[in-house]
């Protein structure tokens, strides 16, 4: 059986937890492992934070939707917004660079710039497209 639900929040960082907690709870209906659920939660939270912080420049009151589809062996999460898009070159670069930090010099450890790579590593596949000013990120988790 395929079940679907869409979560809509206003662009405020404190609302992201509501989506994350809801996603976690409904994923108990399918056989995602705790490990895979942790990964997916991280990816979705990073994507929503980015939409609010970068896409909407922290302007409150703008809609962010997260559509979740549960199937027997797949969870699909589709995040849509009307803000600025993720620059294609940054997404491409994140796809090919790895998440390991260079820990040789602690004074040079990065304090940011991990989000896109976490989003990519959270899913089995990632698609991103812009149509009529609507940005859509699709994460597929297969199990």
């Amino acid at each position: 059986m395929v079940r679907s639900i869409t979560f809509t929040i206003d662009s405020h960082l404190a609302n992201v937890a509501l989506v994350a907690m809801s996603l976690r709870s409904i994923c108990s209906l399918v056989a995602l492992s705790p490990e895979e659920l942790d990964e997916l939660e991280i990816g979705v939270v990073e994507a929503l934070n980015n939409v609010i912080k970068h896409g909407y420049d922290n302007t409150p009151g703008l809609p962010v939707t997260t559509a979740v589809t549960l199937e027997d062996h797949q969870v699909t999460v589709q995040i849509s917004d009307r803000g600025k898009r993720i620059p294609a070159e940054l997404l491409d670069r994140a796809r090919t660079s790895c998440l390991d930090m260079d820990t040789d010099d602690l004074t040079k450890l990065p304090e940011g710039g991990m989000g896109l790579r976490l989003i990519i590593s959270s899913a089995n596949s990632l698609e991103y497209h812009v149509d009529d000013g609507i940005n859509t990120l699709i994460l597929e988790k297969i199990f």
Partner: protein
């Protein structure tokens, strides 16, 4: 620390080490700036040996991870920062970024304090 941070962290002293215990289940972008300021204020006011106790934290995102890195840098080589109680997505994030190799990770805040206390 601002009184408004009393819902976020709680501090105690243990053998010369400041234990900063997180009180929130979710350490995410909505609280990461306040968390960072709360801890770096303690460092600026002279605390060089600190434990961040993350036992209560069930979820952490990259903004909070960045705040932890900031705290490490603020302590620098003058003192020491250790972490206790990391589990679940917190540990997952430390491992994914390989930060687990440089973070001083312990099970309990007391164990962490013992490991870094100034001699």
């Amino acid at each position: 620390m601002e009184p408004s941070d009393s819902d976020l962290v709680e501090t105690t002293h243990h053998e010369g080490v400041l234990i900063v215990r997180l009180l929130t289940k979710r350490l995410d972008a909505s609280v990461a700036p306040r968390f960072k300021t709360a801890v770096t204020d303690h460092i600026a006011s002279g605390h060089q040996y600190l434990v961040l106790d993350l036992t209560a934290v069930d979820f952490m995102d990259s903004s909070a991870l960045g705040a932890v890195v900031s705290c490490m840098k603020a302590v620098g080589s003058r003192g020491s920062l250790a972490i206790s109680g990391a589990h679940g997505t917190v540990m997952k994030l430390f491992k994914l970024t390989r930060l687990d190799r440089v973070l001083n990770l312990h099970d309990t805040p007391e164990g962490a304090a013992q490991a870094i206390k100034p001699s």
